[in-house]
Every structure is written in C-alpha cells, then in structure tokens.
Symmetry: C2
Subunit: 127 residues, 2 copies
DNA sequence: CTAGAACCTGACGCTGACGTTAGAGGCAAG
DNA sequence: CTTGCCTCTAACGTCAGCGTCAGGTTCTAG
C-alpha cells in the first residue's frame, strides 16, 4: 500500500509516517517513481511506534529499542537502556496514580454534600 | 522568602517560578523595590504544580484545576474538566502499563537462556 | 557608603514531533 | 493525453516549558 492508505489505516498523518522514516523507525520500499510502498505489517509497526511515543519515549530511544523488540537481540548497553526505560515508565505510572488519586479526592469532595464543600453553579456565581 | 530561596527549597529554577506566576499558577507579594516574596506554603504549592506538570497537564489545565483543589469549589464546567482529566490520566496509566508489560516481556526474553533469544556482546558483535 | 549577590523585565533560543506550504512529479482512468 | 488525485522533497512554522543573555535595580554585609 502507499503512504496515504497506511496513514488512514494506522490513524496517523502522512507527515508523521515520513517523520518516522526520517528517524529510522519505519522502512519502506520505493516504486520507480520514488513513491513509498508498505507491507501489511506496517500498520502494526506504526501502532507500536505510537504506543512508545505515547509513553514519552524519544525517537532515539525508540530507535534503540525496536531492534530488541524485533529480533530479541540485546547487547549489555541495550539491556541497560531497557531497564532504565522500564524504571522510568514505572516511576511515571506511580506519579500518575498519585495525581489521579488526588483528583479523585477532589471529585469525591465535590460530590459529597456533607463535606462542607461548596458547589457553585455558573449562573449563581455570576449573580 | 525571596524567589531564590523558594527555588532552592522547591527544587526548581528561578525562571520556572517566574513562568508559573506568568501563567497565573503562583502568586507573590512584592516589596517596595518590586521583588517577589513568598509565604511558607509556596513550596508545597510549587510541588503540587510540578506534580501536575509531571502528569502531563498543560498550564491552562492546571490553572483551571487549582481553584478546585484550593477552595474545594466547583462549577459544573470545572467538574466536567476534573472528570475529563481524571479519565485522561487513567487512560494514560493504562497505556503506560501496557508499554511497561511489553518491555518486561522483552527483558524476560533477554534474560532467559532457553528462550532462543540472542544476547550479543558489544565486543563480539564488533568482531 | 559601597561592593557584590540577588533580583527585575524583556526578549530571543532551544527541543521534539510533527503541521503546513510550495513547487514539481507519479499514476490510473477516460 | 490530460484531468485529477496522490506523492515527492525541501524548508519554514508551531507550541510549551523553560534556559539564557542583556542591561538595569534592589538589598544586605562590612
């Protein structure tokens, strides 16, 4: 398939796909005219990339990471990086849970009439 | 205390504190000469701000959020925003756990000699 | 009173993951 | 062959959360 279809299937922009290739995260074959062509696995690949970006990993980190995921090949360096990223993500999860709990507490207060919490209606507040 | 001490106590840069004020997240009184002064609660406030930034919230969202945390006052709008942010964070936690599990799987493979996984030493690989 | 540390207000710089525009070329249909 | 959609490269624009520099002021220790 060509880049437009892959973009549609994977739910990302054409620009993003070209960017991924520029970063070395995604490969493509070229037609005589120079247009990119992708196999069916490409969509899964893009989903994986998106997932890693979504976890806050940088292009460089993803670039280092992908060979480990692909070929299950690790070097001492890449294993240290894997561990480091895992711990970083774990710490981020902990922080996010803390924030979520705090938001839950605020929400709980705003829902409990016996809490002494004030709920101000927009109209009332404007008066 | 003045801005330098607050920066030290809260573990952020002076620039960051001025930025928070610019965004409306942090208030200060001014001396005659125009220098900022903060109370003792300021450090906690900065920690909270950092926590929310760390959770991926934008300045604007934090600005909307803080009054709810402070005064326990909510409007229908702010409650919707609270719920939305909570769900967003929850979804992000789910995504991060997914990524962490995937990294764990890769790490487990790289540690298991019986997995058919290849561990390449850097020196060996260079040869 | 004076040195120097800390502070002030602009305002430009930086980074990363793209968005967007420009101008040119590829490709299937009629 | 040409219409029209898709694609190409190249390059500048964007946005957020600060870093950093310039040029000037304030505060405090001696």
């Amino acid at each position: 398939m060509r880049i437009g279809e892959l973009a549609t299937r994977a739910g990302v922009s054409v620009r993003a796909l070209r960017y991924y290739e520029e970063q070395g995260l995604l490969t493509s074959t070229r037609s005589n005219g120079g247009q990119r062509h992708y196999g069916d696995m490409a969509a899964d690949r893009v989903h994986l990339i998106q997932m890693l970006y979504g976890a806050g990993l940088s292009s460089k980190t993803i670039l280092d990471l992908l060979p480990c995921v692909d070929a299950k090949v690790t070097t001492p360096q890449s294993r240290a990086m894997l561990d480091g990223e895992r711990d970083r993500i774990d710490a981020q999860i902990t922080r996010l849970i803390e924030v979520r709990d705090r938001l839950d507490a605020v929400i709980a207060l705003s829902l409990s009439p016996a809490s002494g919490c004030t709920t101000v209606d927009a109209v009332t507040a404007a008066a």
